[in-house]
Amino acid sequence: MQTLYDKLWNQHLVHTESDDPGSMALIYIDRHLVHEVTSPQAFESLKLAGRRPWRLNSILAVADHNVPTTDRSQGIQDPISRLQVDTLDQNCDELGITEFKMNDLRQGIVHVIGPEQGATLPGMTVVCGDSHTSTHGAFGCLAFGIGTSEVEHVLATQCLLMKKSKTMRVSVEGNLGPGITAKDIALAIIGDIGTAGGTGYAIEFTGSAIRALSMEGRMTLCNMAIEAGARAGMVAVDDTTIDYIKGRPFAPKNELWDSAVAFWRTLRSDADAVFDRTVTLDAAQIKPQVTWGTSPEMVTTIDGIVPDPARVADEVKRHDMQQALNYMGLNANTPIQQINLDKIFIGSCTNSRIEDLRAAAQIVKGKHIAANIKLALVVPGSGLVKKQAEQEGLDQIFRSAGFEWREPGCSMCLAMNDDRLIAGERCASTSNRNFEGRQGPGGRTHLVSPAMAAAAAIAGHFVDVRKLTN
């Protein structure tokens, strides 16, 4: 009667000081993903201590946060960004770490390329110095973000010191309505339990609506677990998982494949497993979601209105809401569909995979972005996603509609490169955080699904994607 989390935990437990479930444990790490922002200090400390990486073939590195999404033939123009990417290249070259360099077709957002390459496999512990590492939990992995000290710890010891989390089951039962995506499920859950609702928990997403999601949908959902406060989100292994992995470059082949699949099928919670908390959502009730504030929990539905702080009793909460509305330049009680936009961003580790691009392309096909949209960006999650989309002609659909078609990277999700909002600009974004300044100082972010972002680009304001027919 173990949960999936219990199984993953026990399978990686190297050492524990006592049997007390609250005690610190040494957990073995199978896959370490590395990017340029959170690793340089870890590599430096490692060297200063005279240490070497414990197991090189556990590491896969890529630069994604700082890379330009425009012409890369001249390299990175910003000298500070360039130094950070060069530092990663040097560290990887020196130590013999596998890295997809900026002009490699396989380069992309670290959470897109891991699964795409089959470097993320069921039953693994997957870590990365990035909170959205929860994405990889879609494969029945224990995957979570770590800080730079822990990056160094994993490099040096292949382990992490940690305490076991509590477990939460988020069960989504029933059928999603047309036009409703994993992104809407994720935002609906966060709206329900809050951005701290999952703090201290590992979430397992279960239920018929989750089983019906593609792997890409499950990745979107697990990606957002951290926005609900949970360091790890996960989905049990099933045929969808196994079909996705088969044939990927880092996936096992031949007899090893058969043994792996047999083991992977055990990676599910036992029927009688007990969770510390259970939350249930009815899939049929989930509508397209749009955030209105500066925290992902500040979310409502496309047919909703901007809420009124005056109706909130709790003083701290009311104050925070008012602050959010001031920052967002919104008045209480404004219908969501009357909010006009300046920019559109389709991309990020949440929503930059091929299905996301297809969903957006389907909406914009044969149409053009509205006159008030100053910039609409599509930033594929990897070079391979980009290539696939181009083979399907999606780039042409986007370009004809007035979108810019870019090179892969994190881009305007966090605006570490040149893609950003100018103060006061309002953006419909498929990314994961609507924090103040996240997409550029003074920028205003509304989180939505790719289809909703595409529909907003065409209309110039939010519209209900369910009412669009093609």
Partner: protein, 212 residues
């Protein structure tokens, strides 16, 4: 890591829930490949009136006079009072680095985001969890009393007010020992190197596809 000893220090209030790591240290400063120097950009977008970029001379920038940490009464602060879910968002250790580099030794809040909470211990910054009602009280005290100082006694797990009120907090015993003794996690883990090797070998035999 420096040892954490009992401190008595000036306290400042950050009266806002869900303060995220993007607010604590905006992303443009994450481009540094160093571990130090982030304190000048702590809460950059709230603290300064202009837009900050790496390499700017912070002493020449115009401060936002309304921002709490810019008030004269809070200069020299080492203890921060915060609201729920402090440090939510990204895993950037630059957030605790910037708080520590600014001079903070302790953050007191009713709850912290998991990754931030964990990152703090790794660098010797102490996150203290107290009940929301106690925080409400402390917020009132610090706002109404200029020069308000708290004592944080890690050994006895107590926050002590100037009125000698004592608020006990919980801390994991292992983390407490690491902080009190300034122990290095990696060195401790490598004491188990043989056990890690054995575990790895067994795993390699059972799931060879993980080692290709």
């Amino acid at each position: 890591m420096e040892k954490f000893e009992t401190i008595t220090a000036l306290v400042a209030p950050m009266d806002r829930a869900n303060i995220d790591t993007d607010a604590i240290i905006p992303k443009q400063f994450l481009k540094s490949i160093k571990r130090t120097g982030f304190g000048q950009n702590l809460f950059d977008e709230w603290r300064y009136l202009d837009h900050g970029e790496p390499g700017m001379d912070s002493s020449q920038r115009k401060l936002n006079p309304a921002f709490v940490l810019n008030l004269p009464r809070y200069q020299g602060v080492q203890i921060l009072l915060a609201r729920a879910n402090f440090g939510c968002g990204s895993s950037r250790e630059h957030a605790p680095w910037s708080l520590q580099d600014y001079g903070f030794r302790v953050i007191v809040a009713p709850s912290f985001a998991d990754i931030f909470f964990n990152n703090c211990y790794k660098i010797g910054l102490l996150p203290v969890v107290l009940d929301a009602a106690i925080l409400d009280y402390l917020f009132e005290e610090v706002k109404s009393t200029e020069g308000y100082r708290l004592t944080v006694d890690l050994q006895n797990q107590k926050v002590i007010s100037p009125k000698r009120e004592e608020f006990t907090f919980e801390i994991d015993i292992f983390r407490k020992q690491c902080l009190l003794n300034g122990l290095d996690d990696i060195g401790l883990t490598l004491q188990h190197a043989e056990k890690i090797n054995q575990f790895e070998q067994k795993r390699r035999n059972e799931q060879p596809w993980l080692f290709m």
